[in-house]
């Protein structure tokens, strides 16, 4: 943990080396974010709700997914950019150091500009909570926190899976974007508004539904069972195959080479 924090501060130091570029990028992130936001807003000027979800309910879902995604872009950028480590051959350098590989990959990169997105996600989250009339109790607060945590976890897992893919081929990385960016785009809306096939896919294959749909139903009082409220915990199970895939990838790397 100490090593990771030190590496983070080194990345921050690196980025601050380029002062103007850092500030401009930070600002541009705000505009990008709002373009996403306006897509949703414009949808709701035509319809008052989508399959029973109102504007603020969708924005709540949107902000939770954005939070998790941006959080990983800041703190797990090394995994997101893992292809670079492989292509440049710098992965070899990590292998000759006496520390856990995953930790070292995490330390290898970070993108502090995306902090601005995390902040924006939190702002939208607070606004939507303010507008929604949720009857708060201790369980609902827990559910909300679990949703945020699960959102971070699921993108960590997806990044890791995409990284493992690099061990097999460094070409055709677009495939992974289907899962990261494509998945993220869909998951910004409550999964329930899509067709059944999608719901099943995002429940059992990539469990987005446990991040932003089942718990959301509980939070909004559409379902009363605690099971819905605690369903984000299932996402932790998803980490198991993701982490093992990564380690299988390392094994393959050491036996096959680059």
């Amino acid at each position: 943990m100490k090593i990771y924090l030190k590496a983070l501060s080194m990345h921050l130091k690196s980025e601050l080396e380029y002062r103007v570029s850092f500030l401009l990028s930070f600002l541009s992130q705000i505009f990008i974010f709002f373009s996403y936001y306006f897509v949703i807003l414009s949808l709701f000027t035509k319809f008052s709700h989508i399959r029973g979800f109102t504007l603020w309910e969708v924005l709540l879902c949107f902000s939770i997914i954005q939070f998790g995604f941006s959080f990983n872009e800041v703190f797990a950028r090394g995994i997101d950019r893992f292809d670079r480590l492989i292509i440049k051959g710098d992965f070899d350098i990590l292998l000759v150091r006496p520390k856990n590989i995953l930790l070292q990959v995490l330390c290898s990169d970070s993108d502090f500009i995306k902090v601005s997105r995390v902040i924006q996600a939190v702002i939208v989250l607070i606004l939507s909570l303010f507008h929604l009339k949720i009857e708060w109790n201790i369980f609902k607060i827990m559910t909300l926190l679990l949703m945020l945590l699960a959102s971070c976890i699921i993108f960590f897992g997806i990044f890791l899976m995409a990284a493992s893919y690099c061990f097999y081929t460094i070409q055709g990385l677009e495939v992974r974007n289907v899962f990261t960016d494509g998945g993220k785009y869909m998951a910004q809306y409550p999964i329930g508004i899509f067709q059944k096939g999608f719901v099943l896919f995002f429940t059992f294959i990539i469990p987005y539904a446990f991040v932003n749909y089942y718990p959301l139903l509980y939070l909004l009082g559409k379902k009363d069972s605690f099971l819905y409220g605690f369903s984000p915990l299932i996402v932790f199970l998803y980490l198991i195959p993701c982490i093992s895939m990564f380690y299988v990838g390392i094994k393959r790397y050491t036996s096959v080479g680059s």
Partner: protein
């Protein structure tokens, strides 16, 4: 059991066959043909603690693959290897504490910040105690002349300055073995000299075992008493540089400056050419040694000056490569 013991290591890779042309590119996109390339085959050698070994061979001979196996990055298909009592590719974390690796073409320093920050991170990665870290760091700074460059962002350093920092970074944890993969590549003469002197120094003072790959033969002549030559994945020569020289250096050219007239008819003298102020002699070393020739010369003529041109080590290596057809 030697410090480094490598026994019959083999490693092959599966490489996709690529032919030129767009049509072939489409074909290979649908169905790849693979080809097995033997990167190293039956490589064996043993190295004692404190030795400096030059590991040489043409491009693609298998040098990097061997280094990767020895440093635990790759697992060989077959063969045994024991270094400092451990098998490199098993128990990676424990093993790599004993080694330092410098890849001439890759950097372990962080690009945008001073090298000292990277050193601090390495301190934590290798769990070096504070006191030891400080004294090692100061020692390296002094020996590698880093005072003025350690606080400058790495991207602003020259190649030579960066390489000095790279080497320091690889030695912070006092490794028993140091792997140097082309450490002088692209450096100017002064930096090369500095790096070489330093490598010699740590070998002498810390008894560090050093394995070095290079294409620069003067690296080998100044540093390594022993060389291992590899070609097409096989060890072709393993022994002292001197022996290799004796074996391949058969002719030598001697320039003699004299005002006298020279008549020499001796077995072993292959050529005698009159120059502006003396003679140029080419002798066959197996038949006539330089000292014998000098005795003869001094009896016959007044020698003003003499110059012996040794065959350069590069020439020897070229001959060697030709001999082994690699």
């Amino acid at each position: 059991m030697s410090f480094i013991e490598v026994k019959q290591i083999s490693k092959s890779f599966r490489v996709a066959k690529k032919k030129s042309g767009l049509k072939e590119a489409f074909k290979s996109f649908i169905k790849r043909e693979y080809q097995i390339v033997k990167a190293v085959e039956d490589v064996s050698f043993s190295i004692d603690e404190g030795e400096i070994v030059g590991y040489i061979g043409p491009n693609g001979a298998g040098k990097s693959t061997t280094i990767k196996i020895l440093s635990g990055i790759l697992t060989p298909d077959s063969g045994e290897c024991q270094i400092a009592g451990m098998i490199p590719w098993k128990n990676r974390v424990k093993y790599v504490k004993n080694i330092g690796v410098v890849f001439g073409q890759k950097s372990q320093l962080w690009w945008d910040i001073p090298a000292e920050d990277t050193f601090d991170l390495l301190k934590d990665i290798y769990e070096i105690p504070d006191e030891k870290y400080q004294s090692t760091k100061n020692d390296l700074i002094k020996k590698l002349n880093l005072e003025d460059i350690i606080n400058i962002p790495v991207r602003q350093l020259s190649l030579g300055q960066r390489m000095r920092c790279e080497i320091a970074a690889a030695l912070l944890h006092h490794p028993k073995i140091l792997f140097l993969d082309e450490p002088t590549i692209g450096l100017d003469a002064v930096s090369k000299q500095l790096v070489r002197d330093f490598i010699k120094k740590i070998n002498r003072e810390n008894h560090t075992t050093i394995i070095l790959t290079t294409h620069d033969m003067s690296d080998i002549t100044t540093l390594a008493k022993r060389i291992i030559l590899i070609g097409n994945g096989k060890v072709l020569y393993d022994g002292s540089l001197k022996k290799l020289k004796n074996q391949y250096e058969t002719k030598t050219t001697i320039m003699v400056k004299t005002k006298d007239k020279l008549n020499i008819r001796k077995k072993g003298v292959l050529e005698k050419i009159k120059t502006k102020d003396g003679y140029q002699l080419v002798i066959h070393l197996k038949e006539l040694s330089i000292s014998e020739l000098l005795t003869i010369l001094s009896r016959k003529i007044e020698i003003d000056d003499i110059e012996i041109e040794n065959e350069s080590i590069d020439d020897i290596i070229v001959k060697l490569y030709e001999d082994y057809q690699i």
